[in-house]
């Protein structure tokens, strides 16, 4: 067991509010949470002066690429990026090779997660091979601890199959998460359809390709009563529909990605595929709607959609390059810099809301005596510039290289282990 820790001098912010508080951690557990604790002998002090001490962040959407894509990322390298970004838990997406659609691959990723710098929760595929044709063994995977199922990267196109998946999942107490994209309407598209795609000669993906599936899934939630989590919503129409559904009491949750509140489709003008992502960067009105949704509660969580790709893949021509951007090391700073929201709301979006959605609210998302010590210490005034070559991810595909951000993680404690100290990963 690592030595006891004292997180000293910070302001604790969690679902119960803000207060000046020090935190003592021993044997992986928070054992004291009161102001002005003096360090005893053998206690390692983590300076939190001027900082926010928050429950560790939880990412609902990380592509860790293992197994199959180890040149781009591994569970270990991705977890290091996560810890540096303040995360103590990430949900590993199942679009690996092979897909996480059977017990063997779930166990493989869980085993890899044992050595990680944060908790690695595993999302299972809804359908075998994410092919959208027959159900994956959800009960077997749920028994291994899988709480979220998704074919992310693909939406489940077949409405009847999606209905059955919702009914089946409802009985297991697990949640389906949908990548909303009507494949036929989106077919062949490589960026948001609009003035920019028309000018640049890049085939477009209309906003309606996303909205059609949001609309259908809301109907299926009404039909089945099973909950749905909407992944990476990107359009004003999607946000509005989810907001209206919530107002009617439907059991739905939604996440958005940092790039959808910070970048627009105008970024495609230089044809650099580092700006290619799916759902694509949208127009200004969509960005405004995403920001509004984050502020007013229509959106529950910020999720990174961390999607590492090797440099050579992102040097392909735009339409041949794979979609996706790094996110774990920049999400918090982007939220603090770009969103005009109180820190409590930012942390709700990044920590306790996603912890609840992922079904890990017992271990993440709150600070209290007796709970596992999963926390991060954030210096909200720390200004820094994103340098792609210094990121811990194995890949370099951040769209924010050179961007000035404010707010940085100083320390991250995962299950009582100080995995990040003074902005440096400890292993």
């Amino acid at each position: 067991m690592p030595s006891p820790l004292l997180v000293k001098g910070g302001t604790v912010v969690d679902p119960r509010g803000s207060r000046r508080c020090d935190v003592v951690v021993q044997d992986g557990i928070i054992i004291a949470l009161t102001p002005d604790i003096e360090a005893g002998a053998g206690v390692r002090v983590l300076d939190a002066e001027g900082c926010v001490v928050a429950p560790g962040l939880v990412d609902l959407h990380a592509h860790l690429r293992e197994p199959g894509g180890e040149q781009a990322e591994t569970v270990l390298s991705g977890s290091r990026a996560a810890a540096l970004g303040g995360y103590t838990a990430v949900l590993a997406m199942p679009n690996t090779t092979p897909a996480i659609d059977c017990a063997a691959v779930v166990r493989q990723v869980q085993d890899l997660g044992q050595a990680a710098l944060c908790d690695v929760e595993v999302a299972g595929a809804i359908t075998v091979g994410r092919a959208g044709e027959r159900l994956a063994p959800m009960a077997e995977l749920a028994a291994l601890g899988v709480r979220i199922f998704t074919d992310d990267g693909n939406g489940v196109q077949d409405s009847r199959l999606m209905r059955r998946a919702l009914e089946y999942a409802g009985g297991l107490g697990v949640r389906l998460a949908q990548h909303c994209e009507d494949a036929a309407l989106a077919a062949g598209g490589h960026m948001h359809e609009g003035a920019w795609s028309s000018r640049l000669g890049i085939p477009g993906i209309p906003a309606e390709a996303e909205e059609l599936m949001v609309m259908r899934d809301l109907a299926l939630v009404r039909l089945t009563g099973a909950p749905v989590h909407f992944l990476h919503l990107s359009t004003a129409g999607s946000i509005a529909m989810v907001g209206a559904a919530k107002a009617q009491g439907l059991n739905v949750t939604a996440e958005v990605a940092p790039h959808h509140f910070t970048l627009t489709d105008a970024e495609a003008a230089g044809y650099d595929p580092v700006f290619k992502v799916n759902p694509p960067l949208r127009g200004e009105a969509d960005v405004a709607a995403v920001r509004h949704g984050l502020a007013d509660g229509d959106v529950d969580a910020i999720a990174t959609d961390h999607a590492p790709h090797a440099p050579e893949a992102k040097e392909e021509p735009w339409d041949l390059a794979p979609p996706g951007m790094l996110g774990l090391e920049t999400a918090l700073a982007l939220a603090l810099t770009e969103l005009d929201l109180p820190i409590e709301r930012v942390l709700a979006l990044l920590s306790w809301n996603p912890a609840a959605i992922a079904g890990i609210g017992d271990r993440h998302g709150a600070l209290a005596v007796g709970r596992p010590a999963n926390l991060c210490v954030i210096d909200p005034e720390h200004a820094w510039v994103v340098n792609a070559s210094q990121l811990a991810s194995r890949s370099r595909n951040t769209p924010y290289a050179g961007r000035k951000l404010k707010g940085k993680v100083r320390h991250t404690v995962h299950n009582g282990e100080a995995v990040v100290v003074d902005g440096a990963a400890q292993r």
Binding site: E193, A195, S198, R199, G201, Y271, E312, P317
Partner: protein
């Protein structure tokens, strides 16, 4: 100017300069020995990831008439078929010390990426649906040489604008030169958004026909039918093809243009292609001279103080050559 990637790089003045130079190179092309030593010692590579014999031959002819060395890199016969990346290919070619790379690729934007990876000048020989600037320049030259100027002319671009790099470049060039551009196409073959395009739109070719100074027909790819963009080639021809009937309703000095290769009987009937008002083969002829002008601008006319093309005495050859030409191309 370092690269020619988009018509927008040139602006109005740049286009005028290319067209002025083209006059001179048309004259060179008409000589018994149509060759000047302007780019002696320069190397021009054509890097064609997509089959386009006519564009490639036009560029290579232009380069040879300027005495540049030319190399051809086509996908079938290259390391690309062995899995080499675009960047590695470009860096390999650059390492050989080439001066210009003419690139054709089925993906929009590739010339922009290449320009970031090489010290050579990059000429966009057509990128996906996006741009084909030298086609627009030769089209503008063809119209200007027949009508004196594009200013105030009404030009219809007819057909598959959505998938057309020619249309995107032509719209830019023609409007910069003062023409009024109208796009004529079924809505499925227009770009999803025309925000910011200096054009008007007509769904019906017949309604605009009598008012046109130029009717520019785009090639209709056969596969558009299978994408549910048009019901049939027959229906397309009936609505938007330049048939004999429509030809009869064109003005006596209206120009008929097409970037080639033509689908006779679809977007253009044989009568129209062969009509006296058709300048389709003139477009091809002018293509060589326009591309000579472009290569000259990029490689032969360095900024003051920098060595220009060739060695010493031959440095400023193109202007000198042209001034000693037997007679000016235009009075």
């Amino acid at each position: 100017m370092k690269h020619l990637l988009s018509v927008a790089d040139l602006g109005r003045e740049g286009i005028d300069e290319v067209l002025r130079l083209t006059d001179n190179f048309v004259e060179v092309s008409q000589r018994a020995i149509p060759k000047v030593p302007t780019l002696r010692g320069k190397t021009v590579v054509s890097l064609f990831y997509e089959d386009s014999t006519r564009t490639r031959l036009s560029f290579e002819t232009a380069a040879k008439r300027l005495s540049a060395d030319t190399m051809t890199f086509t996908v079938g016969s290259s390391s690309v078929s062995k899995g080499e990346s675009l960047r590695d290919t470009v860096e390999t070619i650059s390492a050989m010390g080439v001066d210009a790379i003419v690139v054709r690729h089925k993906s929009a934007g590739v010339p922009w990426r290449i320009a970031a990876w090489t010290d050579a000048s990059v000429v966009n020989g057509g990128d996906g649906w996006h741009e084909h600037p030298t086609q627009a320049l030769l089209d503008a030259y063809t119209i200007q040489s027949r009508r004196g100027s594009l200013n105030g002319l009404r030009v219809a671009i007819v057909g598959d604008v959505k998938h057309s790099r020619v249309a995107r470049s032509d719209v830019l060039a023609f409007s910069l030169l003062g023409a009024e551009v109208v796009l004529v196409a079924p809505p499925t073959l227009l770009p999803p958004s025309l925000d910011g395009w200096p054009v008007s739109v007509a769904a019906d070719l017949d309604s605009v026909l009598p008012s046109l100074d130029v009717v520019y027909l785009l090639r209709l790819q056969q596969e558009r039918m299978t994408e549910a963009l048009i019901p049939s080639l027959r229906e397309y021809r009936t609505g938007w093809g330049l048939t004999g009937d429509r030809l009869a309703r064109l003005g006596s000095d209206t120009l008929v243009m097409h970037p080639g290769p033509m689908n006779r009987g679809v977007e253009i009937d044989a009568d129209a292609a062969g009509d006296a008002r058709s300048v389709i083969t003139t477009q091809v002829a002018n293509g060589v001279a326009v591309r000579m002008a472009v290569l000259y601008l990029l490689l032969g006319a360095g900024p003051p103080g920098e060595p220009s093309a060739g060695d010493g005495a031959s440095g400023a050859l193109a202007p000198a050559e042209i001034e000693t030409a037997p007679e000016p191309a235009r009075a």
